[in-house]
């Protein structure tokens, strides 16, 4: 049983209790993804699994045989930052930075979801094609809490990248 993480294949753990988050952080020592609540409430552990964002604390590693996972380490590096990472730096989209890897993984998937036309609770009618508004971004990012309250700057950073992509 193997799992691919940021393009590299790894053996899955034997103990079925190990969550995907603990597997990545404690077994593979990739500590970009953070553990905030360990109960699916804060979003600090957000990873992309087969392209979709999920809370890696609420899923067992053994349930991901054959899956392909992207963590913040796979999104960009200090030497080669992704556009969202650059925008977070530019707009001060963080204070302590603990929530930031989750915010950026989440926002990466969110921009694809809007591009794919997925509605959200902020979309007036589910049949509408969602628009790229602050209100949409706020609703769609509601699963990523920031205890420092950097929300306004986080939305600024995401909007800048989103508008750049749309242009």
């Amino acid at each position: 049983m193997t799992i691919e993480i940021n393009g590299e294949s790894h053996e899955l753990p034997r103990d079925p209790r190990v969550t995907l988050l603990d597997f990545v952080r404690e077994h593979l020592k990739m500590t970009g993804a953070k553990k905030g609540c360990d109960h699916g409430q804060c979003g600090a552990c957000t990873m992309l699994v087969n392209g979709q964002r999920i809370n890696s604390c609420l899923t067992l590693a053994v349930m991901h045989d054959g899956d392909s996972v992207t963590t913040i380490e796979g999104i960009g590096s200090p030497a080669a930052m992704a556009p969202l990472q650059e925008a977070f730096v530019k707009h001060d989209g963080y204070q302590c930075g603990y929530c930031t890897p989750g915010q950026i993984c989440s926002a990466t998937a969110m921009l694809q979801e809007i591009a794919a036309g997925w509605p959200s609770d902020a979309t007036a009618d589910p049949t509408d094609t969602p628009k790229l508004t602050r209100e949409e971004v706020q609703e769609r990012m509601s699963g990523n809490l920031c205890r420092c309250g950097a929300y306004a700057n986080i939305v600024d950073a995401i909007m800048e990248v989103a508008e750049g992509e749309a242009a």
């Binding site: 103990d15 079925p16 209790r17 969550t19 360990d38 109960h39 699916g40 979003g43 957000t46 979709q52 964002r53 999920i54 809370n55 609420l58 899923t59 067992l60 053994v62 349930m63 989440s106 998937a109 969110m110 979801e113 794919a116 036309g117 997925w118 509605p119 959200s120 609770d121 979309t123 009618d125 589910p126 049949t127 706020q138 609703e139 769609r140 509601s142 699963g143």
Partner: protein, 326 residues
């Protein structure tokens, strides 16, 4: 988490056999079960992973739609047929949880999610649902989230979900498979009231698995999901109203309503649908509908406010759905 054995169900018959074993639970998205296993509220000896069964499809079914038990909440909410013909269902799903959770949450797991009662999730507290016979912490303590309809002396918990409330209004059917074969149950009868067995929350027998939910022919009309909660995103409902209502000329031709946050199950009272159908909408009619809904409502202190809240949420929903002005 307590140690457990992990087994993968490769075929449906296999899943039933595995799940029928003692101390065994099925796992789908895991977003509720793993949470509760970490708290040791759930301590299964064996987990049966359903994710390899071919139950994730969403397909045409007679004139309606069949949503597989493993279809994620996201897949359902973004499905073109759901958005166009059952917007109520898309709205209810999108009003719940977060995108990360909805990407994992499944139809079957969502229907079977456990209550969010504080005492249920805290193993230091008494709770008849978690430990039959231990007492009800909420009846003696904090009951802000709790039910006002259909409660019992043993338990006043609510069913917390949103998706099933929409499905109750849409008169969906739950398809179930087990060792003894398969059966279907109207969604409105799938969840149970607590009575003196609050640990039994739905009609599933040991070893039975939900395979799909089917939606009947679309009813059209206005479809509204009004969710009242403590903050405007990412919170469970205090009260929710799901309404599918179609006007013909000046009167209501079809009305189907269901309510969340009020009871141990998505609440559907056929008397309300009957009262509204064929009538001209008016504030007096809406008042009567609320009277019927809340006739036997009982508050437990902190949740007393749910009673007037439910009346206002119902009235506001009917105003939106019919265009009558207050």
């Amino acid at each position: 988490m307590r140690p457990f054995d992990y087994k993968r169900a490769e075929r449906l018959e296999h899943a039933g056999q595995l799940a029928a074993a003692e101390d065994t639970l099925a796992i789908a998205g895991g977003t509720n079960l793993i949470d509760l296993m970490k708290l040791q509220v759930e301590t299964p000896a064996t987990l049966v992973d359903l994710n390899h069964l071919p139950l994730a499809g969403i397909e045409e079914h007679e004139d309606g739609l069949r949503i597989g038990a493993l279809a994620t909440n996201t897949a359902t909410a973004v499905h073109p047929r759901v958005r166009a013909d059952y917007p109520l269902l898309a709205r209810a799903i999108l009003a719940g949880a977060t995108q990360q959770l909805r990407n994992k949450a499944t139809t079957g797991g969502n229907l079977c999610q456990r209550t969010r009662c504080w005492y249920f999730t805290n193993t230091d507290q008494p709770c008849n649902k978690r430990e039959p016979g231990s007492g009800c912490g909420a009846l003696m303590g904090r009951a802000d989230l709790h039910a006002v309809l259909g409660t019992s002396e043993a338990c006043i918990a609510t069913y917390p979900g949103d998706m099933a409330v929409a499905m109750a209004a849409l008169d969906a059917t739950v398809e179930i498979a087990g060792e003894k074969g398969s059966r279907s149950v109207p969604l409105r009868e799938f969840h149970l009231l607590p009575g003196d067995t609050p640990h039994i929350e739905n009609v599933l027998e040991p070893g039975e698995i939900i395979t799909a939910v089917t939606l009947p022919t679309p009813v059209g009309g206005k479809q509204i999901y009004r969710k009242v909660r403590e903050r405007s995103s990412y919170a469970f409902a205090l009260v929710s109203v799901a309404a599918a209502l179609r006007m013909e000329g000046e009167s209501i031709a079809h009305a189907a309503l269901a309510f969340g946050g009020l009871a141990h199950k998505p609440w559907h009272d056929p008397r309300i649908d009957d009262l509204l159908t064929g009538e001209k909408p008016s504030m007096a009619l809406f008042d009567k509908a609320a009277d019927l809904l809340l006739e036997d409502a009982q508050g437990y202190g902190e949740n007393d406010a749910k009673i007037p809240l439910a009346r206002r949420a119902l009235t506001a929903t009917l105003i939106d759905a019919t265009g009558v002005s207050a």
